[in-house]
Symmetry: C2
Subunit: 584 residues, 2 copies
């Protein structure tokens, strides 16, 4: 069924250059992944180790099964938010039921990805249009940032959507912890500065441009180290600064979570959405990076690898994972040559879990919140909405609806609204297709819209070019249109339907065409078809419709040559004019 093979990175071509590139990339990604993993676990409402565990078995499985050399799989912000939203509907945060739900979300979404990959159903992801995904990611980024405000201020808040969170922040702002706020501001300022200012500084200190660029990625590490030491030195924990606390030492446990049929049914739809969003996010990153090196990505194989990675997460107490943008870019820039970089990252995270977790005891939650906010700011794209709207009202409306519903009602509702509206607008558009009356462009055998080009026509022959497949939502439209046109212009003797843009004629449309034919014949008008495509012709030949049509022509020019020979030849001999009409 598929030419898919399990394949480890090709070891024969794996030289020294590849190795050192992979090692450096793995090291840089690990330094980012330790704080980010813990931060996204906090965002998902899970204990910090769920994020670290998500960077071990899932990464190893992706390294074996995936197809992208640069994609950095692991916990990501949007999936963490969606996990929190889904798990929050079945259990209270912090309870064992909540953690169980998160594990089942990983297992179900992983299973769905695996099945979709094996059945080569990756195209389903296309139903999330670019504007919907883009609007969703921006709205999710805003929700994520708002959800971290409580950690920055050291207060408690409730709710998930903007109309819930903002009043809750306002109501609780009196209880803010000034030391936490000070720490937050310091970390935020440092992190934002380090994204732009650290590399030039390191270069001025004498490092090469490449080394400076890489070391600058260690800004996260510096923030973690400095804030942890500060809390420890000054005993800020006693001042109300919340800290990460105890993280279990050692590798993640390997066990299947308890089976609960009702829970699985409740989580099915949200998990499917998480799978879809995770896949779309991941494949977009992988394809962008691959195109930079003229490599290619197998979408179905990616689905299988991401599915396996999430199944791996579900059986090791980890949170759901997918390919993340920021770490993938760092991985790529640091010179990751093969998927071995991901495997090495997993080993380094495992080693950290064995040795380093006690050092993270005093890490303040505010630092993690600042890390999340800095990460999601890069996801926000507020100019996308006016851009989409300017290009097409339908795309703009779908994007606006996705954003609005996501922000006010929640992430699942937002996605559903976006996809639903995209489809509804498409159906609406095709139900009222563009139909152009065409005429011959002088000096050519080409025919274009009479409203846009200076063309030649004759009142006895009406040629309509239908710019849409004929199928049930628009079947009756053509019928009514033809009836109106024939009534308006009684001198018409021939109607030519130019089918160059008709890609399908379904059974409903066939019945409509038969009605059109009967009405035309009753009014003494002949019906001709031109430029019918192969697949459409094949289908029409299974019926007796073509036997009743008065003429079928390979080209529109042939049709006109048969119906108005003198005019056609004269127009062909005219000097070529193809200018657009003014204002059209």
């Amino acid at each position: 069924m598929s030419s898919f093979r399990l394949s480890l990175p090709d070891l024969r071509s794996y030289g020294r250059a590849g190795l050192s590139g992979d090692v450096i990339a793995a090291l840089v990604v690990t330094i980012m992944l330790i704080p980010q993993g813990m931060a996204y676990a906090m965002l998902a409402g899970l204990p910090p180790q769920a994020g670290l565990y998500g960077a071990i078995l899932p990464l190893l499985l992706y390294a074996v099964l995936g197809s992208s050399p640069a994609l950095a799989v692991g916990p990501v912000a949007v999936v963490a938010l969606m996990t929190a939203a889904a798990a929050g509907t079945v259990a209270e945060i912090g309870t064992p039921g909540y953690q169980l739900a998160a594990l089942w979300i990983a297992l179900i979404s992983g299973g769905l990805m695996l099945i979709m990959g094996l059945l080569r159903l990756g195209f389903v992801a296309n139903f999330l249009s670019h504007p919907v995904i883009s609007g969703f990611i921006t709205a999710a980024g805003i929700l994520i940032a708002m959800s971290q405000v409580r950690h920055l201020l050291g207060i408690q808040t409730t709710g998930k959507t903007l109309p819930e969170v903002i009043p809750s922040i306002i109501a609780n702002i009196g209880a803010l912890n000034w030391i936490t706020l000070g720490l937050s501001v310091a970390v935020l300022v440092f992190l934002f500065w380090s994204r732009k200012g650290l590399a030039p500084l390191l270069k001025r200190l004498g490092l090469s441009a490449g080394a400076a660029g890489l070391l600058a990625k260690g800004g996260l590490f510096i923030a973690v180290l400095a804030s942890t030491v500060t809390v420890w030195l000054f005993g800020l924990e006693a001042q109300g600064v919340r800290i990460v606390g105890e993280i279990p030492r050692g590798l993640p446990p390997l066990e299947m979570p308890a089976f609960d049929r009702d829970l699985i049914m409740l989580l099915l739809i949200p998990s499917a959405m998480i799978a879809l969003v995770g896949y779309v996010e991941s494949i977009s990153i992988a394809q962008t990076l691959a195109s930079k090196k003229r490599q290619s990505i197998d979408p179905d194989r990616e689905l299988i690898a991401l599915g396996a990675a999430n199944l791996g997460a579900g059986i090791t107490q980890a949170m759901p994972v997918t390919g993340g943008l920021s770490r993938s870019i760092v991985n790529f820039d640091a010179g990751a040559e093969t998927r071995a970089a991901g495997a090495m990252t997993a080993l380094m995270i495992a080693a950290s879990l064995l040795a380093l977790t006690p050092l993270l005891y005093f890490l303040p939650s505010a630092t993690l919140a600042a890390i999340i906010i800095v990460a999601v700011v890069s996801l926000l794209d507020f100019r996308a909405l006016p851009r989409a709207w300017a290009y097409s009202k339908a795309d703009g409306a779908a994007m606006a609806a996705t954003m609005l519903v996501t922000l006010t009602l929640g992430v699942e509702q937002g996605l559903m609204a976006g996809v639903g509206l995209s489809l509804a607008l498409h159906l609406y558009r095709t139900s009222r297709p563009h139909v152009a009356e065409v005429g011959q462009v002088p000096g050519t055998g080409h025919f274009r819209n009479i409203n846009r080009y200076e063309v030649v026509t004759t009142p006895e022959v009406l040629t309509l070019r239908v710019d849409e497949s004929l199928y049930f939502p628009n079947a009756r439209y053509l019928e009514e249109l033809v009836q109106t046109r024939i009534a308006e212009q009684p001198e018409i003797r021939h109607l030519v339907l130019m089918f160059s843009a008709v890609n399908d004629v379904d059974a409903s449309a066939l019945e409509s065409l038969e009605m059109v034919l009967a009405k035309l014949h009753a009014s003494g008008v002949k019906l001709h078809l031109s430029e019918v495509k192969g697949p459409v012709m094949d289908r029409l030949q299974r019926t007796d419709f073509l036997l009743h049509v008065d003429g079928i022509y390979l080209t529109q020019f042939d049709a006109m040559r048969a119906l108005a020979p003198a005019l056609t030849q004269a127009t062909l001999a005219m000097p070529r004019v193809e200018k657009r009409k003014p204002g059209a």
Copy 2:
């Protein structure tokens, strides 16, 4: 907003011929409508007068507001079945709650039709494709016939779907009433015979062909009269033959049913479906009859009129109504010239209610069941399924799914399955569009599929004709296809995308096209577009995509003339060959 005017039938042009035609038509329709109305009320689970009341105010309202001179509005079988299905989900048949539900179904579906008509949303009905409607009507006909078996046999049965009804009939068949069965067989045989045999018989008795044809429609009346008299004469009621019994004398009461918010919410979806099916059935009949007289029907005005008719039903204790096939044909054949025929029918029914109801006391239910069965047999079209399947697998599958689900799970489920599958198959098809490589047809400037026609191409220029609008479900498909083709054929220097069949390019597809362009340029291949339509060009001009494209040509011939001038001219000079390739 709309040019819609209230208008009574135009009285100036209303001459004597029209009047006598209308009177005769009204008389014939009334004779059919009295037994049919009572029969369909029984089918809907309502008292017999609900069917008769459905032929008074609704008909008057349609006569004032409608646009079809021949459409006979009133109770119809399929809507009666759907009403029973919907009301049965909220209350037990025979209870006041059940009757209240039926009234609200009329009010809600009437209100929805009215709103759709005022907002000119009649096109929504197109989403019920011909195969779905056809499959649904046949399946509903089978369900209706099966539901009447108990009346024919004089037994009790339960259930609404085939897997429920058939075992119930078998379980209860022992209790059958032989006298009822005898009466049923006699009426059925007479009714089936009278459809074909009564008119020739009357003609042989000396009547003119026209009069014989009309009088033959009185078969129903004869069956009602004969079976009622038989029951009365022989006291068959005492032998267990079920009869219609008391029908309240007088005009229907005019009152708004009790408001119940929860009930309305429960009935919203089923009522919307009843509105849709009722509208589609009615408009199809009206358009068919109108086209026979070269008249035309205004779909939005029809919606308003049918909506008002159903609102009228809801406030007069009547069942939901729509245009019915058999009575409309009779109305048309009997010479109904204007909508006054409908108004006269209403007055005759009202008169019958004042005078005739005691005569219907002994009318056996078995006769009504036989009338229903004879009526629905004409709805069954078993050849439609193989015909749809032969024409297109997608249409056949949608029709089969509609029938199967309707028969086994119920009418609402069947309709939803049909519409859902139609849309899903459409989206699936457009997500993997047909893309043809084209070449020049010798002797012409026309370009066709290289796999179907003997055409001329050059290895340096690849021309792909995309046979689908480019939008989000297929945005990535083209990207992958182009990548594959370019990799397979390294000698390609130019890719021409022939956009003659591309009716839309949405934002997702634009991003894909930008990716295609970037990849092509990276591989040293130039991208050209040809035959881009006006509306698509307008939209692309809002972006900077066209600035990066290497060439845009009005015609494909122009593109080839620019990219391979010698070859194009040589091919043009060749003798014209346009034969299809063997086997293609």
